[in-house]
Point group: D2
Chain length 337, copies 4
């Protein structure tokens, strides 16, 4: 089975497994796990922030970060297709009482004009805008790598209105790789960033929130509230530390995505969006089938992908998929359509 | 001062004041206020529903109705510019944990296709869509009277997905008047409707939620939770009953709006949206001023209107404004620009 | 029917009805209702606070006040039998995310030691105590009038820990009357106080929150969120203003309660708590009946009272009950048992 | 340093570390991690329930379980000193809108009479009681092992009122060990149970909720909402599986607690509660010091314990503490006082 459903399916390699086995651990609720501490320091250094905090999931990392930035009743500006809006179970409203003002953006990031238009001043009828939330790469729009100028311009428009900015950077290393810039160029313009270790980097578990020290301290308590305080978390922080060494490998995933996209373009009925990172979106309306039908036909040939709409399929390359896997996928799809 | 800020400023007339003075009252938390009971029965009859419930405000009426329809974490489909989204302080998220999926509609009501596209099936990542919320007339889009076919089509698209529909009908009698149809034609396609008594109808205080009896019973308890249980509310329900007799007068307000709009069209720099009911929106960008500047110039001439955007002003006609008031307003504006 | 269920059943007299009829009104959401403004100024003056705000119910007044004092997740210290805990539908948790630490107090007010013991310092595992909530008179404990020394001592214990104090003074004028002191002696030690106008004072609708001006400004917005923004509320604020003149009459209600209690003491099977204000609690276990049985027997004789537990009944005297009503009640109960 | 602060500090042994290294893994959000699946099946079998679910923390496991049992606004009956009340940051109120009715129980479990007295019927003023929450062993009351008769009696009183029961069994294997009964005797009377793997059993990370299959399915989605969906969680589930083999070792921890308690009884100024499991509470008022002073004096001698009140200290034995450690602790304390 060649699994292109998501880069979350990456499994830890031997180096990571060995790191888990030999990890120095302590009770991280007491802040005594040295491996977690090393991970947090390392991530903060890499991202150029004061501090960072380890979370069991990207959902919790995002939810906690947004909550710490805001007060209940405030509005959060976010692209309509962003992860916090679509895939986090309405948690911003449910757990934190926040109203999302959904923006229809061009490539996943609002223009300064859209930030200005979406911004709500605090007054009697409205608690006002409390946060701008960006996402890079932008998953639901096809893994788009948003360039630093757009990030900075959106952030500046927010800052001009005293609104802080959180970046859902679950795949921000993919973005930096695709843009061939230091990741700090994408992080510098925002107050806080979330990164996932368990996606393309291959860690078994975990995401981080990075930002100012006082923010991270508040996030630590909110993480406890959400049930994210883990004990000897060094066992999973150790492979996560190893995962940070895998950033260079992301370029290979992007290359695989380009090869895959090129091949899919030749398939009858497939309309393929040119990939910028490790995500390939294909509109399969031309096959005369709906998503489920296409996915079933692929699964019969031991290829897995993800439904992304009635006629849209997402293929996601990652470090557990080789160039020959990609070639095999293309052969099998060519055979199926 | 001629006050065109809102039809909420309508003051009770002598008939209403006399009704307040002589109202039969009881403790409505014990369900023993005969005047409130009469108001609730009368409204249910007029709207063709089983039951109705009296509220101190339209905001509470909407918030309670939406909450009773839904479970926390669910999504509510609503036009981006609807009152529940823009003017109720994020209460759906803050008080009830609901995420609003904002729709960009043509005239305030989504097409069936927009309902279908906005609908979210309940699954692991998403609690799903719990309610479609419509608004008629649509305030922020200029008092548009949405015809029953559009209401019914949107509702049917929701019902096809087992999603109930709530109509914010704060000004639904204005809509029925403008469309020259029985109000029941606008209410029949939906499960529940909110109507305001304190706007064009002239009651001092109060709005209603009308719908099935079991729904209204649930709403009664949620009203208590929100602090809407009033005691000898007959004192305000009595003038509200009289206000129901004022539906015929709404046509006059609409006529005034047409006269006003026609006159404003001639004013230098005013770009006026043709009114359908009692609301006139004017884009004043052409004056070279911003909203505040224009409002100030009007106020100096004893005319009040409302800011509706950086270059948009809302004028709202109502029963406390006469034809000669409208003429006076036009003269003064002509004088000012 | 002689109705001793609650002093909320009081109906407006002619003076109040005339006041409603002739009230000067305006749109109070725009802060332009002169009668509401006069009521708010008058109440603030009477209670010795900077400011006051009118609410459609005591539940909303309490819920908004507590919310404005606190942050979500904080703890509120309150007597286990207080109104905010027992009769407000869990609103503190449901609407504002607050955990109540219930205290088992002697006469409804905690001792300084109980405040100290219940206080929780903010730390990693606990957001800490955000408010002490007192109640005077204490309804569920039998209308107890808590003396200013106890109020002040509890408040001081809270203040020593930087915890503000809200007083649910729905019947604080009853307390001041019973203790024969100015009401300000009961209000001075606390930050904010809620008073009900619709109970013993006889107003048809309304309660107030009084406190510092900045607090009241915040409460104004939260009132809007809860749906408590009413339009021409002068119609009910005018009789409420008249109701403030009825404070002197409360002594008569207390006298009636004493007469009633004395009479009930002689009834077979009734164990009567000596009343301090207008509330009489009787344990009717000795009758061999449960509460419902006793209430039914009373209702057959046109006397209404309230169930307050499996064998406890509450009788509440008020301005619509005369001395001869009390005598009649005693005769009928004597006849029934 | 001999660390008696908590059994959460237990570190994984080599068997657990090897299990982590060689764990079969998959994406558990897709329900494809075989090790997590095995852990969940194994735990359900051990506890005699249909199903079980893995969580990153006991706090999340409790919070999710309580939420799935209840509706917002309902009341939860729980001992005043239970973990969900004291140590979970008010999450029941903050995240789920639940009001806790705190019970003052004798040994941590309410009597049937207390359940009956605390139960609130659903009615207009109250959403009613939605859950009884028990805890066994009871941490804050000194690790008390509550016998199955008390658990069953409390549960029956709840069930008689159609109220389900959740057991916070973070240390339920300690309870079963101390009572010398199968753990199922303590679990059978309740609907759902939470167990911790990271405390006395020694797993690095994780707790479980066990109960009916449909309940666990609902909990799976709520876990996602709270951010508890982890990816290749087999890396920590594998050592957790090994940890289940450590139940027999708990008897040794209890023996150590008895030895420690006996020794502490002889220390000047220490008043020691006789331990039932692995927790020893000592009131150190007799030393003339406050908790901090005593803890500091211990820390100077390389012994760690936990503050449990102004004059109460908790010592917690666990598998990383040997008999000679206990002897050393007693020597050092004898030396210090
Ligand atoms: Ca992974
Ligand atoms: Ca009005
Ligand atoms: Ca002109
Ligand atoms: Ca009254
Ligand atoms: Ca451990
Ligand atoms: Ca000694």
């Amino acid at each position: 089975m060649i699994d292109l459903r998501s880069d979350t399916v990456t499994t830890p390699d031997d180096r990571m497994r060995d790191a888990a086995q030999s990890a120095a651990v302590g009770d991280d609720v007491y802040r005594e796990d040295p491996t977690v501490a090393e991970l947090e320091t390392t991530v903060a250094d890499r991202l150029g922030t004061e501090s960072a905090l380890y979370f069991p999931s990207g959902t919790m990392a995002n939810q906690v970060a947004v909550r710490v930035h805001t007060e209940r009743g405030q509005e959060v500006l976010a692209d309509r297709k962003s992860h916090v809006v679509k895939y986090e179970l309405g948690g911003l409203a449910d757990l934190s009482g926040l109203q999302v003002r959904m923006l229809d953006t061009d490539r996943g990031a609002p223009t300064p004009e859209q930030v200005a238009a979406g911004f709500v001043e605090e007054e009697l009828h409205r608690p006002g805008t409390g946060l701008l939330c960006l996402e890079n790469t932008h998953n639901a729009r096809g893994g788009l790598a948003i360039d630093p100028e757009r990030i900075a311009a959106a952030a500046e428009a927010a800052h001009d209105r005293d609104v802080p900015v959180h970046l859902d950077g679950a795949r921000v290393f993919n973005a930096a790789t695709a843009l061939d810039i230091p990741v700090t160029e994408l992080v510098d313009p925002v107050e806080t960033v979330m990164i996932s270790l368990s996606k393309g980097l291959g860690a078994p578990v975990g995401s981080m929130v990075a930002g100012p020290e006082s923010f991270v301290e508040d996030a630590r308590r909110t993480r406890k509230l959400f049930g994210g305080g883990m004990r000897q978390a060094g066992i999973i922080a150790a492979p996560a530390l190893r995962a940070l060494e895998n950033v260079d490998g992301l370029e290979r995933d992007h290359e695989h995505a380009r090869v895959l996209a090129e091949g899919l373009t030749a398939v009858d009925g497939f309309d393929v969006q040119e990939p910028e990172t490790n995500i390939v979106l294909a509109d399969i309306a031309g096959t005369g089938l709906e998503t489920e039908g296409v996915l079933n036909r692929l699964e019969e040939r031991n290829v897995l992908a993800t439904a992304f709409g009635p006629t849209t399929i997402r293929f996601c390359t990652h470090r557990d998929v080789s160039r020959s896997d990609i070639d095999a996928v293309l052969e099998r799809i060519d055979d199926a359509f």
